[in-house]
Symmetry: C2
């Protein structure tokens, strides 16, 4: 393995391939480091220098099994969202120097082509790369559509967000405030809770590492929870189900507490409260809203400029640290959106 | 205890009171049989002779804990829907001889008053009492609103109903056929499955007592389940969650497999498939649709007259057998809507 580098040009294409389906928390042993020649584009393709990788909990699922996308094949480069700069093109749609966002993979150079659902999208010149992968990227879009379209908030409602200090959760909680809701975040540790209270300006926080979550939520939500936006699953979901308000909604975004379980974790035993409270639990995927991404990016960019959405980005340097960076999501070490800087922008 | 009687008039008011909160399957030991004087109405009240009791799984919940209604108090008459004939009135809204449907309780005579959510409703003279408590009663209304308003079926979709031979399930499956869906029922035993195929005219059935439910459903639903209407919970819900189609819907009506568990049963471990399939799981209570009961009764009565909905009613004679009749719901002995005939209509 070569030493940490963030230079713009490299002579080889360093890549992390999936070596085995991981069990439990990801570890470098599940990946194979290879160095290959820098690829050249075929007709219709581009080759782009990867600058940043986005770390997302869903990658853990891709490594294990078919989900909404086929599992990553053993021996394939690890699938990952990210940003890259076009360095060679045989596509009339892209020019050398374009900054694109897409499924770049854990590698120095990616071969991409236009068209289809996963076509690389151009990032406007005035958008900072880190913002393009957090609030204005799929993370922010996930928060926007999941909360507004699935959660359907009404002004005055009480919104509880698990994983509230995470990339998606922090945006959800701040959109909740923008929409006139009371926003309560659940996060682990004083530092994250302080950020949520003082930077993201939530109404209240619950520290699952030191608080009795059920008791604290009952105090904070005497009329119940109107919307629970769930990034965590497990016990926190069960507690929220038990405290739903009439016609409450549970927006299922993820279940980071469960992705590394080696056996099938138990389901939410309080699900029958959905009947008692005439409530709804619904999943979504941001890709289903692709036709409306423009609307969402415009709104999110506006709120960011107005100072209504604070973003927090946690950058690890070096492609070789991609497995460790992904792991931070599951240990809770990340502070906001976890990125890997592969090369200087 | 007096012997079984279905006479119209009685000299005493025989009543089953709740003696303790039952654990597990209900048994007569949880109830106390008392004989009291026949009550007389106060101003605004009526006294009615109870003719039929409706047995409903939700009664098991009422005996144990506060749900969408307060728990039945220890020493109170066991709460039950049913039909009764007015025998004395001090209300200008009801006349002697009126047949009313409402919360009559496990007793010979009930004191009722008009107004409020649980006011007794008059049953039209041309409706058979047994039909008024099944397809045209809360059971049919539950099927109608749960399937149409929560499930939102589209013609051509695949609908799977658990507890399909039960009072609600059988009506759901037949409305599914009326709306142009493929209807597949899950029930226990050949006799019930035969009835579903040959009388209720479902497209297919799964016998959970003899079939591998997961395997059979995969064969019957190669494109997945668009709507799962769940009366049963437990393993059947988990299997259906795993086989949902894209944008599938799980309508939570009940979980009869779980109401008698003495400890909290596990939740549906496949709930995260709601994310993968962008699917929704939603509970409802028929009482929320009270303003539209007229519309539903009209539709259900029409379909029944046209022979599109077959009804099946299972009548046990005698108030003293009310606990045993309720128990039949949980052992699966009932054949369609379980009623208790308390007195001759």
């Amino acid at each position: 393995m070569t030493e940490a580098t963030t230079e713009t040009e490299a002579k080889t294409n360093r890549r992390w391939l999936l070596a085995e389906r991981p069990t439990g928390l990801v570890d470098t042993k599940s990946f194979q480091w290879v160095e290959e020649p820098v690829p050249t584009p075929a007709d219709g393709q581009i080759v782009a220098r990867v600058l940043y990788l986005s770390c997302d909990p869903t990658q853990r699922g891709w490594m294990s099994r078919d989900t909404y996308m086929p599992a990553i094949k053993i021996g394939e480069v690890v699938r990952s969202g990210g940003l890259a700069r076009v360095v060679a093109t045989k596509s009339s749609d892209y020019r050398v120097g374009d900054l694109v966002s897409g499924l770049v993979g854990w590698q120095d150079y990616v071969v991409l082509q236009g068209g289809g659902m996963f076509a690389p999208s151009k990032v406007p010149a005035n958008v900072a790369p880190e913002l393009a992968l957090s609030t204005l990227g799929l993370t922010g879009l996930t928060a926007y559509f999941g909360f507004l379209d699935v959660g359907k908030p009404q002004s005055g409602e009480t919104v509880v967000v698990s994983g509230a200090a995470g990339a998606t959760g922090s945006v959800v909680a701040q959109i909740a405030k923008i929409k006139g809701c009371r926003a309560i975040g659940i996060a682990g540790g004083k530092e994250k809770c302080d950020w949520l209270l003082h930077e993201a300006k939530l109404d209240a926080v619950v520290d699952y590492k030191s608080d009795d979550v059920g008791k604290k939520l009952r105090e904070l939500c005497p009329k119940g929870i109107d919307i629970f936006f769930d990034n965590v699953g497990g016990e926190q979901l069960d507690i929220a189900l038990a405290q739903l308000a009439l016609h409450g909604r549970v927006v299922l975004c993820g279940a980071i507490s469960q992705y590394n379980e080696t056996s099938m974790p138990p389901g939410p035993k309080n699900y029958l409260n959905l009947v008692v409270k005439r409530a709804r639990m619904e999943g979504f995927l941001v890709s289903d809203f692709a036709a409306r991404f423009g609307e969402a990016v415009k709104a999110l960019a506006g709120w960011t400029q107005e100072g209504k959405i604070a973003s927090r980005v946690d950058v690890v340097n070096g492609l070789e640290n991609a497995p460790a960076a992904l792991r931070r999501l599951f240990t809770g070490e990340n502070r906001g959106k976890q990125l890997v800087r592969v090369a200087d922008a």
